[in-house]
Symmetry: C2
Subunit: 404 residues, 2 copies
C-alpha cells in the first residue's frame, strides 16, 4: 500500500528532459511533489527504478500466446496458471511449500483489505490494530464504519499479552497487523510471538489480517515465516502485493490464507460478478514469473534499497545525534524519535520552508499519539537526495528549537 | 458486469486445436461450460471476438513511451490523460460534451458498485432496485447487508410513479437502475422517464446509481442520453465499463457523475492508499483511444451482435411460437416469457439433458418471481450455436410439457 502526498497539486519534477516530464500539466501520478523538495513522507518506489522494460517483455510474451482467456472474465479466485507460478515464486523465498489453492488474486493489498472489511465486518464493529499502524488502512476502516481498538507494540512488534487481555473485553471482527518490517516502525514480529498469535487465533476464533507486503524486501535479515504459513488451523488472511516488489500501478496482489476464508472471498458477489479481481494484469505478470524475470529484479531492488537505508542511517547519526532509531532491516521505512519537547507536526511546518518533508508519527496513531516520532522513507529518493534531506532536517530542527 | 456459470468445474471446449485449449486442466476463466453445450445463460463476450491484437498494439505503444508514471501509483481519480481520451470517446458517441473531471477510473462496474455500497450505504440500509434486476448486483448488495426494496418495471423500464410512491415510505441509500438495454429485460428507459428520475433525484436528494454498461452497444436504436449526462443538479453516479465494448478481463471501467459525488469517491481510503483503481491497464487503453483503435472495434462488435440478435429472434419465432419477447435493440440479452404453467427453473433441469442452458427469470427477482421468464444471451455463441440451442430448447420444452 502507498502513502500519498496529494495535498499539493504540483506534479513531481524528477530531473527534466525525460519524455514523460511532458505529462506534467495533468495529474497522472498519486505523487505531487514541489520541485526540488526532498519528501521522506512518500512511501512509494523511485520512478527511476520502475521496470518498464520488464513489463514490456512480459506483455509481448503473454500477448503473443493467442489466448483469449486473458481478455475474458477470469476465474473468481484468479487464473490457475498465475497462482501456480506465484506459489512457486513464494515457496522459493519462504523455503516452504505454498499451495496455489490457498492464493486468491486481488487488485492490490488495499483492495483486499477493503473487501475483507466488507465480507468479515459490519458497520460499528470493533477491530484491533497496532499502535502505531499504517495510517491509510485506518482510513479504509473508517470508510466501513469500523471502530479501531489499538493495541500496544514494543521493539518486537505487537504485544501479545495485550492482545490476549483485549480479547477478554472485545470480540473484534478481526485484528489488523503488519508483522514484518512494520509500517511505520520497521519492527518484525519474532517467531515466538507469531506462534502465540496463531494460537490465540485458533483458541478465540480470531480473524487475523496480516499485511505482509514488505515481507519479500529483507536486507539480509533472517526472517521468521510469514503469518500466511501459520494459516493451517488458525484464521489468517495474509495480504501480499506486487506494489513493493514490482510496480504499484499494476494494482496486483494476492491473499494467502486459510482455505475456508479464501473460499468465502472467492465466492463473494464482487468476484461472482466481475471474475478475477485483476485478470489481464495477472496474465502479464504470469509471464514475468514464468520467464524468471521477477526474482532477479527483486534482488536488484533489495541491493539498492539496502544501500539507501544504510546511507540514511549514517546521515542521521551524523546530523541528528539526538534522534533515536533502529537501522532498517527491510521494507521502505525508518522510524525516528526526537527528544522530549519536539512536536513533529509543528516541525513539519518548519521543514517545508527548508524543502524537506516527512510523515509525522501522529499520522499513524489512532489516539493522537506518537508526536515525537516521524517516519522516513528511503525507497523514493536516491542517496544524494536522502543526504540532502537529512541536512535540511537538521536546519529545520535547529530553526524549530531556536524559535521556541 | 458478467454472469457466471461456475457451478461446473469443466472448462469450455471452444472447438479445439487452438493454442490456448492446452490451458484446460486449470481454471483460467470464469466460464465453465460442458463440452458441446449451448448455454444462453453466459453473459460474456465470445472468446473469438476478443481483441488480442489490439491489446498487443496498445501495450507496445504505451510501453515504448518510457514513462514510469505508468507503473507507480496513479492519481486517485485516474490518470488525467486517460480520462481526457475517454471523455473525447464518450462525447463523440453521446453527441454531447463530456468533462474529464467528472470521470473516475474504476476496476470495472462491479468494483464501482461495491465501492459505492461502502461509501454511500451502511449495513441494514434500504436500497431500491428494479424488479427484475441484474442478479449479481443483488449479491453485492447482500454482501453489504443492504435490504433491497424492489420497484416494478414495465415495457418502458422503471415505473417512475412507483418510485415516487416508494419515496414516501422509505429513505433509501440509493436507487440502483439499469436504464439502457436493461439486464435482464433489454428495455430502455425513455427520455421523459429519465428527466422525471433526475427531477426526483434532485427533489428527494436521492442518489441514483445508473448501471449504463450496455449504453454504447446499440444496434441502430436511437437512444436517449445516458443518465450520466443528467448529473448536473441531480445526484447521479453512472457506471461505465470496458467489459462489454473491449475486454472484461481488463477490469477497467469508469464512474461518470455529479462532481461532489465523484470527489467523495476519489478521496476515499481505498484510493488514498492504492491510487488509481486500475492505473496500468488504463494506460494501455489510453493508447487504444489515442490511436483511434477502439471506435472501429466497437462498430464491428455491434455489427456482429446485431446479426446474432436477429438470428436468435428469427429462430425463436420459428421454433417457439408460444413464447413472447421483444427483439433486442442493444446489449447482450433477450428476455423471453413462456405460457402459463411453465416454470423455467424446472425447465432448466430438463434443458441440461438436451445440452442447452439459460438464466431462469427467478434469478433476477428479489421476490422469487419471474418464474415463466428466461434470459437468453446472444453475445457468447455464434449464429449456428444460437440456432442449435433454440432447437434444443424446443425439444426440452416438448419433453417438459409432455412429462407434466
Amino acid at each position: 500500500m502507498s502513502d500519498t502526498f496529494s495535498s499539493s497539486s504540483v506534479v513531481p519534477d524528477l530531473s527534466g528532459g525525460k519524455p514523460w516530464t511532458s505529462d506534467a500539466p495533468v495529474r497522472s501520478t498519486q505523487v505531487a511533489l514541489p520541485p526540488g523538495m526532498v519528501h521522506f513522507g512518500i512511501g512509494q518506489p523511485d520512478f527511476n527504478l520502475l521496470p518498464l522494460d520488464l513489463m514490456r517483455r512480459a506483455a509481448e510474451h503473454r500477448l503473443a500466446q493467442g489466448n483469449p482467456y486473458l481478455l475474458n472474465y477470469g476465474a473468481e479466485q484468479g487464473d490457475g496458471y498465475f497462482r501456480q507460478a506465484l506459489a512457486s515464486f513464494l515457496a522459493a523465498r519462504y523455503r516452504q511449500a505454498v499451495d496455489a489453492e490457498r492464493l486468491l488474486v486481488t487488485g492490490g493489498a488495499s483492495q483486499a483489505l477493503d473487501l475483507i472489511c466488507t465480507l468479515f465486518a459490519r458497520n460499528g464493529d470493533v477491530i484491533f490494530a497496532e499502535e502505531p499502524s499504517y495510517f491509510l488502512a485506518l482510513r479504509i476502516f473508517a470508510d466501513h464504519g469500523l471502530r479501531v481498538v489499538s493495541l500496544p507494540t514494543d521493539d518486537e512488534g505487537l504485544v501479545i499479552d495485550a492482545l490476549e487481555e483485549a480479547l477478554t473485553q472485545h470480540q473484534p471482527a478481526f485484528l489488523y497487523t503488519i508483522p514484518t518490517f512494520q509500517n511505520p516502525t520497521g519492527v518484525t514480529l519474532p517467531e515466538s510471538r507469531r506462534a502465540r498469535l496463531a494460537e490465540l487465533s485458533r483458541r478465540h476464533n480470531l480473524l487475523v489480517v496480516a499485511d505482509e507486503v514488505y515481507h519479500l524486501l529483507d536486507y539480509g535479515a533472517a526472517l521468521p515465516a510469514p503469518l500466511a504459513l501459520y494459516a493451517d488451523d488458525a484464521n489468517i488472511l495474509s495480504l501480499g502485493s506486487f506494489s513493493k516488489i514490482l510496480a504499484p500501478g499494476l494494482r496486483l496482489g494476492w491473499i494467502h490464507g486459510t482455505p475456508a476464508l479464501v473460499e468465502k472471498i472467492a465466492l463473494c458477489g464482487l468476484t461472482d460478478s466481475g471474475g478475477s479481481l485483476n485478470h489481464f494484469t495477472s496474465g502479464l505478470v504470469r509471464s514475468l514469473l514464468e520467464l524468471d524475470l521477477l526474482g532477479p529484479y527483486v534482488e536488484g531492488l533489495k541491493t539498492v534499497y539496502a544501500r539507501r537505508a544504510q546511507a540514511l542511517s549514517a546521515a542521521l547519526r551524523r546530523e541528528l545525534p539526538e534522534a533515536s532509531f533502529d537501522d532498517a532491516r527491510g521494507g521502505f521505512f525508518l522510524w525516528l524519535t526526537l527528544p522530549e519537547g519536539v512536536d513533529t507536526p509543528d516541525l513539519l511546518d518548519m521543514a517545508q520552508r527548508y524543502q524537506v518533508g516527512f510523515q509525522p508519527g501522529v499520522s499513524f496513531s489512532s489516539q493522537g499519539g506518537m508526536r515525537r516520532a516521524m517516519r522516513l522513507c528511503f525507497a523514493f529518493h536516491d542517496i544524494p537526495a536522502l543526504e540532502l534531506g537529512v541536512q535540511r532536517l537538521r536546519q529545520a530542527l535547529d530553526d524549530y528549537l531556536g524559535n521556541r
